[in-house]
């Protein structure tokens, strides 16, 4: 299943759970000086409905 996550700064990512979390953690660290856990990232993610 794919998930989508949107940061309020405009950055977005979409993909499988592990990839989405990795991308979000990198974005948080690089641009917002944040260390996000897997759970914190997934708490902000929304599942993408299959079309």
């Amino acid at each position: 299943m794919n998930y989508k996550l949107a940061c309020d700064c405009g950055w977005e990512t979409e993909g499988p759970e592990a990839e989405l979390v990795e991308a979000t953690q990198e974005h948080g660290r690089k641009l917002h000086n944040m260390e996000l856990t897997f759970q914190e990232a997934m708490a902000m993610a929304k599942p993408v409905e299959d079309e």
Binding site: C7, D8, C9, G10, W11, T24, G28, K30, L31, H32, N33, M34, L36, Q39, E40, A43, M44
Partner: protein
């Protein structure tokens, strides 16, 4: 533990002090707002025991080339935290690799005799930041020497203002 999400802020930026950064440049014609995540305020968490100015400088130079100036411009109380606003001036060569938009002038937020204004817009914070840069350009020789002629001309249209609380 998942931190409580604050509406209007990037993901879950939290903490008693937050840094809000406006990245600006001048293309020779007009001042422009830009930033590593787009032409808007860039929010950085300062939860660690690092000096906010050192942190903002480090993050600015690690994400962007040609950083000319990093300066704090104001502070305010917003959403249960102190927000320190910084202005980062970069070389115009950054336009292209990063999105940018012309800076729109704005009136400053005004409080009443007894209450802070209900809403302080991002444009108003940026307006004050550029007024503070105009003040620095007159008071700080290093800033004056660093800014281009285009910047000095642009800033002559701003009312110089010291660092202050935005309320």
């Amino acid at each position: 533990m998942v931190a409580e999400r604050v509406p209007g802020l990037p993901i879950d930026v939290v903490g008693p002090v937050r840094a809000e950064v406006f990245v600006v440049t001048h293309d020779g014609v007009q001042a422009r707002l830009t930033g590593p995540d787009g032409p808007h305020a860039w929010h950085i968490e300062t939860a660690n025991a690092e000096h906010p100015l050192d942190l903002v400088r480090a993050m600015a130079t690690s994400t962007m080339s040609d950083v000319l100036l990093v300066h704090s411009t104001s502070w305010r109380w917003d959403r249960q935290a102190v927000v320190l606003t910084f202005l980062v001036v970069v070389e115009p060569s950054i336009i292209g690799p990063m999105r940018s938009t012309p800076i729109v002038r704005s009136d400053l937020a005004r409080s009443t005799a007894h209450e802070a204004p209900a809403d302080i817009g991002s444009n108003q914070i940026l307006e004050h930041a550029l007024r503070h840069l105009a003040w620095l350009a007159k008071e700080d020789p290093v800033v004056a020497e660093t800014l281009s002629e285009a910047w000095i001309t642009e800033l002559s249209t701003y009312v110089p203002s010291p660092f202050r609380q935005i309320e």
